[in-house]
């Protein structure tokens, strides 16, 4: 029995397709391409892989990917629920399976024609009587239909309680587009925005403007986890997993946890932060950079507070003055984030986290990046990991 999974496993390979508005091929093909790329990046063969994990939302079954890529047998098959909350849960699964001796090498993947196929901005569909459908029934009739609406509700209350303005959000929006402008894979490559652009853009759902919201894209991303021991012999410097956690907090709904006493923070992030710090023996001061899930600018504020980079209610001030820039306290979403690289449901962020550890990001900070936090979506059961360099 382990008391902590610290340093047991490492991310040994990452793979991505291009990110676009029209992939022109099936989601299965995107999945197969990025999975193959991740396995090759790890210096492994498909026959070395014996576990796969993905999203419940993914349209591509792991057994189809396995047949397509040539992975013969699987000893772990699982799906992580709740959309944007899932990405680091995939790592969590991989770590559990390897650290308990169930598997040797696990692939996690996400592939989606999120722009040319089914889009999240098209609202919640109707269907049979599941708890999920019943839950949406309390919101759909009133027009609370899209992720922007759900996040805006928490954001409005946050701004009200802490007397915050939208300046912090503007700073996040502009800084991340600056990173993307430098990243050839990003949808905002070569397209920086100014503060003026930010404020001139229309409201999507008040208080969120256009550039507070992520883009919808087609693309796939995958990663390979194996034991830290084995990772030492593989081609790339391993991104050792110091901590990995899931969390669902009291009175949790998916995107609509409006019934808690305080809705200006998301306690599921507190739960995940506490576990990651406890497992790793690290604290916020030890984290050199972060990939913070940013489907919307405002959810970065909630996470900065839960992961204790600043006090509750202070993140809207803390982010000002370049804190999240490359030479700031916490370089954040150096790939451009979901806001401006592309929306591959957070797995593209994981790939960037690994690049930061390897020292190969296109926006590699000049200061050290020995420890990187990578998080998952807001206002749902969520997950996070801390990765570090091999000691």
């Amino acid at each position: 029995m382990l008391t902590s999974i610290k340093d047991e496993c490492a991310i040994a390979g990452i793979g991505q397709t291009e990110i676009s508005k029209l992939s022109g091929r099936s989601e299965l093909q995107l999945a197969a391409e990025c999975v193959k790329a991740a396995i090759e990046d790890a210096g492994l063969k498909p026959t070395d892989i014996d576990g796969m994990t993905g999203f419940t939302l993914d349209h591509v079954d792991e057994i189809e990917v396995a047949r397509t890529v040539g992975i013969p047998e699987l000893r772990l098959l699982s799906r992580m629920p709740h959309g944007g909350g899932a990405p680091m849960s995939l790592v969590h699964q991989a770590v559990m399976a390897i650290a308990s001796g169930m598997c040797q090498a696990v692939v996690g993947y996400r592939a989606m024609n999120g722009r040319s196929g089914a889009r999240y901005s098209s609202g919640v569909a109707e269907g049979p009587e599941t708890t999920d459908r019943i839950s949406w029934g309390w919101y759909m009739p009133y027009g609370l239909l899209t992720p922007a609406c759900w996040v805006a509700m928490h954001t409005m209350r946050y701004l009200h309680e802490y007397g915050a303005t939208d300046e912090g959000l503007a700073e996040i929006a502009v800084t991340q587009r600056k990173f993307a402008a430098n990243n050839p894979i990003a949808l905002f490559y070569g397209k920086p925005i100014t503060m003026e652009d930010y404020y001139d853009a229309p409201f999507i759902v008040e208080p969120l403007r256009l550039y507070d919201c992520c883009i919808e894209t087609d693309g796939g991303a995958a990663f390979v986890v194996t034991s830290a021991e084995r990772a030492k012999d593989l081609p790339h410097p391993p991104a050792v997993i110091r901590g990995a956690a899931q969390g669902s907090a009291f009175d949790q709904e998916v995107m609509t946890s409006f019934y808690r006493e305080n809705i200006t923070y998301l306690p599921e992030y507190d739960l995940v932060a506490d576990q990651c710090y406890a497992q790793s023996g690290l604290g916020p001061d030890d984290l050199d950079a972060a990939i913070i899930y940013d489907a919307f600018t405002s959810i970065i504020l909630f996470q900065l507070e839960s992961f204790r980079f600043c006090k509750r209610g202070e993140a809207h001030e803390w982010v000002k003055g370049g804190t999240l820039d490359l030479d700031g306290r916490l370089p954040c979403n150096t790939h451009g984030g979901l806001l401006s690289e592309g929306y591959v449901h957070g797995i593209n962020g994981l790939a960037e986290g690994v690049r930061l550890i390897r020292g190969t990001s296109v926006n590699q900070p000049t200061k050290k990046t020995d420890h990187v936090l990578v998080t998952s979506g807001a206002s749902m059961p969520t997950s996070a990991i801390i990765i570090g360099k091999l000691n």
Binding site: T130, W138, G143, C149, L210
Partner: protein, 155 residues
Amino acid sequence: MSDLSKEETEKNAATGGDAPAAVQRMRPVIGHDNRWWWDRINEGELPIQRCKECGTLRHPPRPMCWKCQSLEWDHVIASGRGIVYSFVVVHRPPFPGYEYPLVVAVIELEEGTRIVSNLVGIEPGDVKIGIPVEVSIGNVDETLKLPLFRPVNQE
């Protein structure tokens, strides 16, 4: 290489892909655990589920009490008065069956439970957190009756 323009980004955010064909507001899925609630609404009353064992009120309805785990429940009829706890003003993407800009709010009822609904009878720009509101149950189209909230005149 990306060829994304600001105009395209706006257009895409606004159109929302293959939006549903329905011209009406989306309907709640009705099942064992919520049919009674919508039945009360259709009778013109705003109910709140109550545990028969310990009296705890809960919304949205669920089959078991999270305080005492009793499966026995009934309901009370809410006064219909409350305050705006948080709100959003939805601009885009527009969906068929709804009018924009659309104000959706989390209302904290006098009884202590919260409910999500629309605010009507107020300009979006006038909505503030904390303003008092009261329920008004009525049809939004031929067949869908919803509890909506309107501001209470503050003297």
